[in-house]
């Protein structure tokens, strides 16, 4: 029976190239009516590119798309929607200041003699939402409703035009548990009605709650298509990261780190039940001087959110934080910095580099901010600091006066690292410090991290590269779906255990 069912949508041999990058290579995707199909893969695997290929944002360099047996080539999302392929994007693409009804029908309002038929518009909107079991006042501005309801409105808008295929790109990333449940109820109902749903998410649990079929991408290539029941979670993770998990991964470097490395003794920073709604469930965490604490988990599992709470970049709404045993509240990063904490953020473009300032200015900025504006570092001192770190980290720049935004990604990362090292912190948070860096620079940074810990600095090391985490961390806290699910220590810190922990929870 299974073999006789025909896919409603089939993508065959899709390849897309951007200048210098093969974003997709010969990828296939099949969507069946009445099924939820999960598209999985790590960041940069090509999930978004595939969706954009399907909805006409990107044009194909090779391959073709068939919808119900007919070859289609939509040139724009609008055309795709008219063909029956509707997309709800990650960020809700609606106008918060318009009413719910207007949002659903914007661009295709019922008209007569050039006038909008408001009564019909509102009635139609109500009917469209009723299909999703949502009963709200459609004449209210969208902004009065929660993000979950806004998501429903986005779905209602997508569905209204006789949709055959519904694509959801990370629909749950900004929803809390009850809102996710509500969304899933609606999606199950739509599946029951025969819609083909393509679901992109980072949350493994949600994948298994909802999906019938899973396609895995890695580095722009198709890994395979599987039935969800045939693919255990651990296998899925292996396929996403592209490696059979080996036993006995070497962790020889750990022994060389500093004295407090065993995770005992007085903690430098200690979090008790710290949490923030929509970001992270309550967690406990302690970090000691000279220790490298790893933070593992898939993307979107709450790693960055945890770091931001410790740094005061976001405010915790529950729980307490203790520094040297004394309760403390960080209302802004500058307070954390003043207490000797540094943070290399994951997104260096938006949160790190000040592009139009020079390399020198970028390096001394945190130190200067901490000293206050009146105790300005002299020009000579600034040059000294900049020169020292450019040499120490082997930053490739034409001079100290080069605009930092002009450097390559890896060198920008090093500039930000230099910025924090210049403040001589007691505790340094490194969020994906090796992302987008070539292999040589990667091991340089790893060596640096180890030597810093040896000198007594506490380090929180966040990385998607489990290999790196295993190599340098004494302890590893594991996060999944915005919950801290485990803390691994000593011999249990290897890739296999971390992955199994993420998978089973």
């Amino acid at each position: 029976m299974e073999a006789e069912r025909l896919p409603i949508l089939e993508m065959k041999g899709i390849s897309i190239e951007f200048p210098g990058v093969k974003a997709l290579q010969k990828v296939d995707l099949r969507l069946f009516p009445g099924e939820v199909h999960a598209l999985m893969g790590q960041n940069g695997a090509g999930k978004s590119t595939l969706i954009k290929a399907l909805t006409g944002v990107h044009s194909l360099d090779a391959g073709h798309v068939e919808l119900a047996g007919r070859t289609i080539a939509p040139a724009s999302p609008l055309e795709a929607q008219q063909l029956g392929i509707s997309t709800v994007y990650q960020e809700v693409n609606l106008c918060p200041n318009l009413t719910v009804a207007e949002n659903i029908f914007i661009g295709r309002q019922p008209m007569r003699f050039g006038r909008i038929l408001w009564k019909q518009l509102n009635a139609d909107a109500k009917a469209a939402l009723a299909k999703l079991n949502i009963d709200i006042d459609v004449t209210q501005p969208l902004s009065v409703y929660s993000v979950a309801v806004q998501q429903m409105v986005a779905i209602a808008r997508a569905l209204d035009v006789s949709a055959k295929v519904l694509i959801l790109d990370e629909p749950t990333s900004s929803l809390d548990e009850s809102e996710v449940a509500l969304l899933f109820t609606v999606l199950r109902q739509l599946r029951h009605e025969g819609l083909a749903i393509l679901f992109v998410t980072h949350f493994l649990d949600q994948t298994y709650q909802l999906s019938d079929r899973i396609t895995v991408l890695r580095n722009g290539e198709l890994v395979g298509e599987y039935k969800a029941v045939d693919l255990p979670k651990l296998k899925l993770i292996e396929k996403m990261i592209g490696r059979e998990v080996e036993l006995n991964t070497g962790r020889k470097d750990v022994a060389e780190t500093g004295s407090g490395a065993d995770g005992t003794g007085p903690a430098l920073l200690e979090a008790c039940g710290l949490a923030r709604k929509g970001a992270l469930q309550p967690f406990d965490l302690a970090i000691h001087p000279g220790e490298i604490l790893g933070l593992a988990g898939l993307l979107g599992s709450g790693r960055t959110e945890l770091a931001r709470l410790l740094f005061g970049a976001d405010r915790a709404d529950r729980g307490t934080l203790k520094l040297d045993g004394q309760p403390i509240v960080f209302g802004a990063p500058r307070q954390a910095i003043h207490r000797g904490i540094g943070f290399c953020p994951e997104d260096r473009k938006t949160d790190g580099i000040i592009g139009a300032l020079t390399v020198r200015e970028n390096i001394i900025l945190a130190l200067q901010a901490n000293r206050g504006m009146f105790r300005r570092l002299s020009g000579k001192k600034q040059m000294e600091i900049a020169d020292r770190y450019i040499r120490m980290l082997a930053i490739k720049t034409s001079s100290t006066e080069q605009a930092a935004g002009k450097l390559s990604g890896g060198n920008q990362q090093k500039v930000i690292l230099a910025r924090w090292l210049a403040t001589d912190p007691r505790f340094l948070i490194l969020d994906e410090p090796t992302r987008g860096i070539d292999v040589g620079a990667k091991s340089e940074i790893m060596d640096l991290v180890l030597s810093l810990a040896k000198a007594g600095m506490a380090i929180l090391f966040i990385s998607s590269e489990l290999e790196e985490v295993v190599r340098c961390c004494n302890r590893v806290a594991v996060l999944r779906d915005r919950v801290k699910i485990a803390e691994l220590q000593g011999a249990s810190v290897d890739e296999q255990t971390i992955l199994q922990t993420i998978a089973k929870g």
Binding site: A313, A332, P333, I337, T350, I354, L357, Q368, M373, R375
Partner: protein, 350 residues
């Protein structure tokens, strides 16, 4: 050494101050040819007189405001309320000095309600308070700068008229005229005020880390916060400073016309000030700022205005002429435009 000359030229033209100074030089050159006696400076009663001195003196309020506005624009903000603050400051100082002609035995005597220096300090401090309000709206309430300062732009003139009870207050207290019309060592007194403010501002922004922080906020506010810069208080500071500069300008404007007119004092000066800052090389999107550039920008605008009057452009098209010149100056500051116009010929030379 044939190559060093083009290199030197490129270095020179890529310096931020080059094009504003160039524009000013072209304007002056134009006057040298077409306006008779533009460069003629004579000494009367120990004071310097002439068109050039006149331009400098008249540009004083605009230069003062441009200095303050430069810092606001560097944070990627904007302050369009400076004209209204000029009116408030003028109204306050006029009210405090008093608008009555006091005759004793048929001879005018110079009396004030409060001492003149107190009146001036109060006016500037009150202006600063209005700036504090702007800064509060921008940094604490999170309002967009143009909206936040639009409130004061609208309300400010109302406040000024409330202070003057809707009248134009005429000042008879002669010592106050010195602020806008007086001479010190032969040079207009207002220019000393501009020079002092410029030097102090340069010192405070460049001798401390203030300038670096302001630029940092203007370029990337999120990253600046992560670096530990207290953006909220800095914004509060620059808006307050901008309003205080406008307040000082208000003292000069009020002294120039010997009266306080809530409706017209400083009218549309915010537009000229924005223009001066942009002409001076500071980008509207914030970041690196050039205080001397802004002052040169203000001089360009005033020279242009004076030139248009003195060569007798018909009044109905003066604004058009002004617009065309400003447009050209702006275009020449864009390196894209220059390479578009001169690109080919420059390559041939090389």
């Amino acid at each position: 050494m044939p190559r060093s000359i083009p290199t030197l030229f490129r270095k020179l033209t890529s310096a931020k101050l080059f094009w504003p100074l160039m524009a000013l030089a072209v304007l002056l050159l134009f006057n040298l040819v077409f306006t008779r006696g533009f460069f003629h400076i004579s000494i009367k009663d120990g004071h310097l007189y002439g068109s050039l001195i006149d331009v400098l003196n008249r540009a004083a309020p605009l230069m003062l405001i441009s200095i303050g506005l430069t810092l606001v624009i560097a944070t990627s903000g904007i302050d369009i309320s400076v004209g209204a603050v000029v009116a408030i400051s003028g109204a306050l100082v006029a009210m405090l000095i008093g608008g009555t002609l006091v005759l004793k035995d048929g001879v005018q005597t110079y009396v004030t309600l409060v001492p003149m220096s107190v009146a001036m300090i109060v006016a500037v401090l009150a202006s600063g308070a209005t700036g504090l309000w702007n800064g509060f709206l921008v940094s604490r309430v999170g309002m967009q700068p143009i909206v936040a300062t639009l409130i004061l732009l609208t309300a400010g003139r109302g406040v000024a008229q409330l202070i003057t009870s809707g009248q134009i207050i005429t000042i008879y207290y002669k010592p106050y005229f010195f602020v806008g019309n007086g001479f010190l060592l032969g040079i207009p007194f207002s220019l000393y005020m501009v020079l002092a403010l410029l030097l102090i501002t340069i010192a405070v922004t460049r001798r401390t880390a203030l300038g670096l922080f302001i630029e940092s906020i203007g370029i990337n506010p999120r990253a600046s916060r992560m670096t530990g810069i207290n953006a909220k208080n800095l914004l509060l500071l620059v808006y307050t400073f901008s309003a205080m500069c406008a307040g000082i300008a208000g003292l000069i404007v009020c002294s120039n016309v010997k009266s306080a007119d809530g409706n017209n004092a400083g009218l549309y000066i915010e537009m000229d000030a924005i223009l001066a800052v942009v002409l001076g090389g500071t980008s509207m999107s914030g970041g690196k700022f050039y205080l001397v550039g802004s002052v040169v920008g203000a001089l360009i605008i005033q020279t242009l205005t004076t030139t248009i009057y003195s060569i007798g452009v018909p009044p109905e098209i003066t604004l058009v002429v002004k617009a065309v010149v400003v447009f050209l100056v702006m275009m020449f500051q864009s390196s894209k435009f220059r390479s578009l116009v001169f690109g080919r010929s420059a390559k041939k030379v090389a």
